[in-house]
């Protein structure tokens, strides 16, 4: 299955072992969900420093699974706000949506990895 939001091949190649990759993807998926919820709240409250901090955290977490689109969007918000450009905050809903897609794809991948592991047992 092809994934749009992240590079499954790169992650697989980097870590090799399906059980390790599953654990890593699981951690990223859980953390992304939590960051995205907090980001939604911070954006609604207009607390831009919190928006920046969460965008930075999302950039770090998404990088582990080579989720380049999420990383690029998160970096734009992080760097823009760090430089005082508040207009980049308007991209926050896009980042939240991208996180949601990534979370869903990671869920599907985890399911596939789990089936593969079961089949090889």
């Amino acid at each position: 299955m092809g994934y749009v939001e992240f590079d499954a091949d790169e992650v697989m190649q980097e870590f090799g072992d399906a059980s390790v990759v599953s654990e890593l993807a699981g951690i990223v998926r859980t953390d992304l969900g939590s960051y995205a919820r907090d980001l939604q709240a911070a954006y609604a409250a207009g607390t831009l420093e919190e928006v920046r901090r969460l965008a930075h955290a999302i950039k770090g977490a998404a990088g582990n699974v080579a989720a380049r689109a999420v990383c690029t969007l998160a970096a734009a918000i992080d760097n823009g706000l760090r430089a005082g450009d508040t207009s980049v905050a308007a991209q926050t809903p896009d980042l939240i949506a991208a996180c949601s897609r990534l979370e869903r794809e990671l869920g599907e991948w985890l399911e596939t990895l789990s089936q593969t592991e079961d089949a090889t047992r």
Binding site: E14, L24, D31, R53, H56, A57, K59, G60, A61
Partner: protein, 429 residues
Amino acid sequence: MHVLVCDDDNATRFAVKRMLTQQIPCTISECADGVQALQLIGREKFAFILLDVEMPAMSGIEVLELLRESPATKDLPVIVLSNVRDDRVVRHLLKLGVSDYVLKPARAEKLMPKIQRLVSILPKEKPAREQGLPRVSASHPGLVVDGNLDFRFVFTTELQRYGAVLECDSGAAALAAFRDSTARIVFVGRELGVVGAELLVRKMREARGADGLRVVGLVDEHTDASFKSLFDAVIPRSFNTQELHEALRPFVVVPGPMTALSIVVPDMAELVLGAAGQVFGMMLDADVATIEPQSTVVAAASAHVDLTLEDRFVIRLGVHMGVVAATAVAARMMSADPAKVTDQDRATVAGEVSNLLMARLHASLSERSLKSEVSASVQADGGGQVKQPVDGEGLLIGLAISGAGEFFVSLLARNKVPEESPQPAGAAA
């Protein structure tokens, strides 16, 4: 090698830990912010740190600045792993002396060569060097200085399990005791009075030279890093004897039980000899004198009795009589014709002698206020070969009875363990 991974991103910590443990022999502590990192660095000794920059509570830069200010950590190698690309931040980190800077995401291809390069230039692990470092043993005393009487008592009691300990309540007293002693390992605590730890350590090092002296700090969680840096090593202050027991291991020679027993009762052999003199003097109007036993001796009859001492040791006292001695003693004790003494008589007499010897030994130990208890009744072991016990685990004493041959007393010591089950025969084979 012990490594600290400090990053607020759970997945990065997971990935880095896997890379490290797969490629270099190491143990890892991890934390998610700068405050936790400083706490861990204060408690544990790390070969290097992998540090994120942007973290909650305290940033990686703040951690680095604090590390570089402290003499104990100013040279601690740090590799920064971050997704901060800001030039000013990177320049500042380089000024703070980071070993390397690696951009996230953590990928083995980028990170591991930098870690391998760092590891290759780190000082070699201590254990090999520590082999030759001074330790407290039966022949090498330790010096303990601490103004807190309660702690000093607990610590000294634990340390005395391994060797002689000189105890001082102040830095000035320690300095005087150090000059007059052969101690090469010193444990330095707190509340030392006018001569504080810094001065004391400096004076001792001047007197004995850095190589011939090992100075160990007794520290707690509030002790600052600059104080810890005075010492070659530190031990956490604890009133928990089990914790102290574990912490002391690198600083002591763990003795065999007989060696440990010789610290509690240094003249055990003399006590046995004294007991034998009394027994044979009273019973048989005969004298005993020591002889040198061979590595293996042959007994016609053997018997043993166990004694528990100070709730720490079980001492098995065995009596092994040659055929001449066993026959002569049996004939005298039973007023029998030596030609009619049987193997059973010889076994009985070996048991009788071991009982009498143990009673005298027990009395001598009690006179010294040592807690002793005969924990098993006499057991006959038949005859056979008796081997010289392994060094540190026992003694074999040879005795000659005037006009009545030779016999041997074996002392085997072992550490008492809870819920003891009966032990097999001692030295007799």
